[in-house]
Symmetry: D2
Subunit: 287 residues, 4 copies
């Protein structure tokens, strides 16, 4: 097992640094856990349901020679995240890196079909949960940074943090709050040696637990229609997470976007405008 990068994850007595994932499904969260475990961390996987699936992921990491443990978590429950942080550090040692990976996508709904409690639930999972994790974890990381261990909090975010599309009232409001919160957290904690990264996942992820469930039967056809490498492979994203969590403190990224090569970025027209090779193409008249 390769050693974690010096200076970031030095643990002294040979104990493994801890990587905590909140939202450890079979997509981004699980693959990040796998990557950090392969890199020498003890991975703690927390997710809302499916104890069997969780056990299977933990088992796979162990079989690959890694160290991991899993726990079910209702992140919306009062005190649950705080308890998880405290228990994790008590049992496994200091959390060196964490990934907040809870989403709040509910599909496109008209305002009239977005009940108050759904709008609130989006905020509770996407914004408030991150606040609570930061509240519980960042002061611990800041204290440890004084002795050279610069922790990292990775935050999976979404296109909806950057712009609000039709039907995304709950999701965009929650993710917009998440993005600003990442900025205020960095503004306070980066100078204390703790690194927060807001990762804008601006494309579909090949994730059976989230996109797969959301789309149901249509998933395979959707995936096939995207063509080769047309969905983000969560293993590739995990590699970028690993890189970000180990940037030396003189060179920290705060906001990073990712998408497949074949996808139109959120700021461009979708579908992309036609280019007329003879130079006679009509620009979108609004350009």
């Amino acid at each position: 097992m390769s050693a974690p990068e010096p200076g970031r994850a030095a643990m002294g007595n040979g104990a493994r640094p801890v990587f905590l994932v909140i939202g450890a499904g079979a997509g981004i969260g699980g693959n990040a856990a796998r990557r950090f475990a392969a890199g020498g961390y003890h991975a703690v996987l927390a997710r809302r349901s499916d104890a069997a699936g969780l056990e299977r992921m933990v088992g796979e990491i162990r079989q690959a020679g890694g160290s991991a443990s899993g726990t079910l978590l209702n992140a919306a429950e009062d005190g649950a995240i705080e308890d998880l942080v405290a228990r994790t550090e008590a049992e496994y040692g200091p959390i060196q890196a964490a990934l907040y990976n809870l989403g709040a996508q509910i599909g496109n709904r008209a305002l009239a079909d977005t009940p108050h409690r759904l709008f609130e639930l989006g905020w509770r999972l996407a914004t408030f949960g991150l606040f609570r994790l930061a509240h519980a974890l960042l002061p611990r990381m800041a204290a440890r940074a004084q002795t050279g261990a610069h922790g990292a909090l990775l935050v999976t975010s979404a296109t909806a943090a950057m712009r609000g599309n039709a039907g995304q009232h709950s999701h965009a409001a929650a993710m917009g709050g998440r993005r600003m919160l990442c900025q205020t957290l960095n503004a306070e904690f980066a100078p204390q040696g703790v690194h927060v990264v807001h990762v804008v996942v601006d494309g579909p992820v090949d994730a059976p637990d989230t996109l797969g469930k959301l789309m149901g039967d249509r998933y395979q056809a959707f995936k096939a229609g995207k063509g080769a490498d047309g969905l983000i492979d969560p293993k590739a994203l995990a590699e970028t997470y690993w890189h970000l969590a180990h940037q030396p403190r003189n060179c920290w990224s705060h906001e990073v976007d990712v998408r497949p090569w074949s996808d139109v970025p959120w700021w461009n027209d979708n579908p992309a405008p036609e280019i007329d090779a003879r130079g006679k193409g009509l620009a979108g008249p609004t350009e």
Copy 2:
């Protein structure tokens, strides 16, 4: 009394169009009410407390020849905004324009000094309250737009909607959510003929009820230190609100910023970097 612009506020039988202000203090909200009343609207002023101050504002508008009424409102209370919308339309007629003017600024606080309930309160006032107003009001406006009355929802917003500064955990997360919500509202309702405007107030407003209270004794010194025209005059901002609410539907602004001439915009270094007239000045090395 001047007639409201044709097409925007045509009321048929001579009744006044209604302008509803949620957050009608002595600063932005009260001045907007005054401006719209002067332009021929019946202004409904809602605010949380200070019945005497509210009564005074309503009286001033009436003395100036305008039409206005006032009501106290606890916007965080369940059903309060919905009731206000229903009552207003029942008593005074269709709401042609509304201003959501509730802020959630609590000063700069470290994360450790930002309790969970305060973080939630910020969201409840700045994001959820707007959602609830939109939920109650925009379908009504959309129905009326089919007969040519294109309503407008003005939303006072803040620098914190654009970036998260140190100490602004609650405020920035709430305002970031507000901004994305304005975008999703426009995405759904602009094509139905309802106009939502997100106004980024990127500078201090000369407002005794908000900034004055927040700063207390320091307010007068702060104001003097800003120099002539160094604070936004809410009367000037009210003029911009009036303009925005009456843009014809072929030319709608979705996001507008304002600040005093002497203030540094949120995207620039504050204080502004020195310019060396001999061309030897050192750029911020990060430029």
Copy 3:
């Protein structure tokens, strides 16, 4: 003729303040000239070609009781803009407000079909020309601001200043430079009392001289396809320009966007995603 707003355009001896338009075609530029002339300015209309069309516009303004003059201008020619500013002030008095309205849209072209000279021409018209106007005009305005005449430089900009779409290499690079230049101009000159506004025209304008020529035969069908109020009426935009040029210095907007009600803003998916009223709609999986 109504008087220009006090403090902005006070000229003392009864002379009219001057409004200079560079790029005075039959769309935005001409309508802005008409609006400012109606508000009491002497409008100076400069455009590259079509002396007859220019003469007609000047004549129309005069017939409506306004004051105007016109001149042909090759803005890309060295010294041309500088001469125009000097001549205008010598003949008509201080330029109180100016509009830089030159575009550089050439339609969508692949990189291979974008010759070097075309890329450079885009920059020369869209970025460098504004620099040259600012160089010639803003120090004059800054000197006059010390005696209370706060000039305004309005800059027509485009979606391409905010994001780079496929085929827009020349246009987007030029407009991105224009936007940053507006910010550096404000950073230096707003504190000296001169107001620069970057107006993002994020939708098609009903302008026979630009969009009409670009589209040729397809223009009428395009316009019809957009439906009622589906193109920006340059008269409406001129009203917003007038408002912006007369904001008091305590409440200045630096960046404003406009588009028709029926148009998708640049940040949203185009076409807009479908909303499923039963709450089963699939969000763009990248949201």
Copy 4:
């Protein structure tokens, strides 16, 4: 020598993939060359002057077991970049990755002290040079992408691409154009399998050839004042460049920012606002 990642840099016959750096000084450019050479590339270092320094860097790479060559280049000269691309591919084989690293920082200058030719030079180096490199290189990369070799064009950019600070007329306009150009390049070439990354270097880099020369005698004091890890180490940035250039095509970043932990990001107030731990701090009233 470690093998380059499969699929990105597969060269077939054992030849090294080529990494071309335009702007290979002793800071970012030289360190990127070193990193890519260590990873198995042949590095081609191009810079404007200092043949001896260039020779030294090439020699160091070779001594470390890497493969490299150097050439002087006047990027502003017509045809120079095009020739470099053609010669490089003829001599060393296909350019698999390139870094455009020319800056155009001239320090803070008032508009009156920014001559026309300086403004133009900024554009010529920062915007037009990238256009010319893309024009010469990207069609080659796109052709090779059809057989699985997905090339990458890394672009070093600056804070000034995101906002225009006082005194930055030339630099910000040029960098704003650069940013939009990166977006139009990605919009056309990402779907063809070529990856362009715009890297916003939002902090001072410990680079003797650029920042060192710009600051002269003040450099050491400036660096000391920044404290430990207070400047970006170009070796760390080179590691991020390496990561970005090797992201699989299903997970590409288009825009990434970096800065030292102790630096205030461009969007935050600089210096950072004070946080009052007792919760009585005054927010920037503009928040």
